[in-house]
Amino acid sequence: MLCDPASLPGRQRYALMRARLCVSAVTIATLLICTSHAQDRPPAPGASGETANNAALRRVTGIGGVFIRAKDPAKLRAWYKTHLGIDVQVWGGTAFRWVDAAGVPANGMTAWAVSNGSNFAPSNASFMINYRVADLRGLLKALREEGCEVLDKVEASEFGKFGWVMDPEGNKVELWQPPEGK
């Protein structure tokens, strides 16, 4: 769907390499019904019609960011700046611009930051991933209907729209709809 490996031989090769290197191959169980949370809630009214709408909904389209919790954020940032050459900004991270094959900045970017992780709450995981989405409100609505643990908080600013959902293992998932054209 988002990425047809057949048309992306390099990426497919990389993916297979990853599988060989460090990911144990598994068979995906298709269409698992949400988590145990789903069983805790009554079915959404009009669920059948909404399911059809949800099926057409475009969800995650890319990785918008990766955030690392540190015991000593200032020290860890300094290490990444000194040794990995990451241009760590005062806010604790940087934005890596996507580039095309010629190295010219394309459009999107992937953010990276090291922090004390206070913004990962209620998760106590040591990382948080930001996922780019096309339609945040549509997705949050669908996730609620599907019984997922969507947080009440939503943010909208010049940086785009943000919402959050907890995955079944307690990781906070940040959903980000970038501003138009970003």
Binding site: L2, R13, V23, V26, H83, W98, D100, F127, I129, D167
Partner: protein
């Protein structure tokens, strides 16, 4: 020297990888492949694939793929010249792992950050 130029991937572990992969597939629409993840192509303003990609996957908590780190995640960083970077990191006293991987998929090296996270350094094949 040019060091890290971008995020090449993010990998994390799960107690129940199959169930978690299925959740991300169903609810977040991620096209999880049978190896446990997917590659998100970078796109231009029109949404067309631009050049690189960011790989994402969920692995087993039992796996030793992040060893010697015990962290539940690992980030892959794109670099321009991994051999030169590893040499510099060694000279700077960083904990560079001996293992090095060089194949059609690119070149890979690893270093441990001061909080024990395994850092994957990846020099993609030319043009990727």
């Amino acid at each position: 020297m040019k060091r890290v130029t971008g995020i090449g991937g993010v990998f994390f572990k799960a107690k129940d990888p199959k169930a978690l992969q299925a959740w991300y597939k169903r609810h977040l629409g991620i096209d999880v492949q049978d190896w446990g993840g997917t590659a998100f192509p970078w796109t231009d303003a029109e949404g067309n694939a631009a050049g690189g990609s960011t790989v994402w996957s969920i692995g087993s908590a039992e796996s030793d793929s992040f060893a010697p780190s015990t962290a539940p995640f690992m980030v892959n960083y794109r670099v321009a010249d991994v051999r030169a970077l590893l040499k510099a990191l060694r000279e700077e006293g960083c904990k560079v792992l001996d293992k090095f991987d060089d194949s059609e998929f690119g070149k890979f090296g690893w270093v441990i950050d001061p909080e024990g996270n395994k850092v994957e350094l990846w020099e993609p094949p030319p043009g990727q």
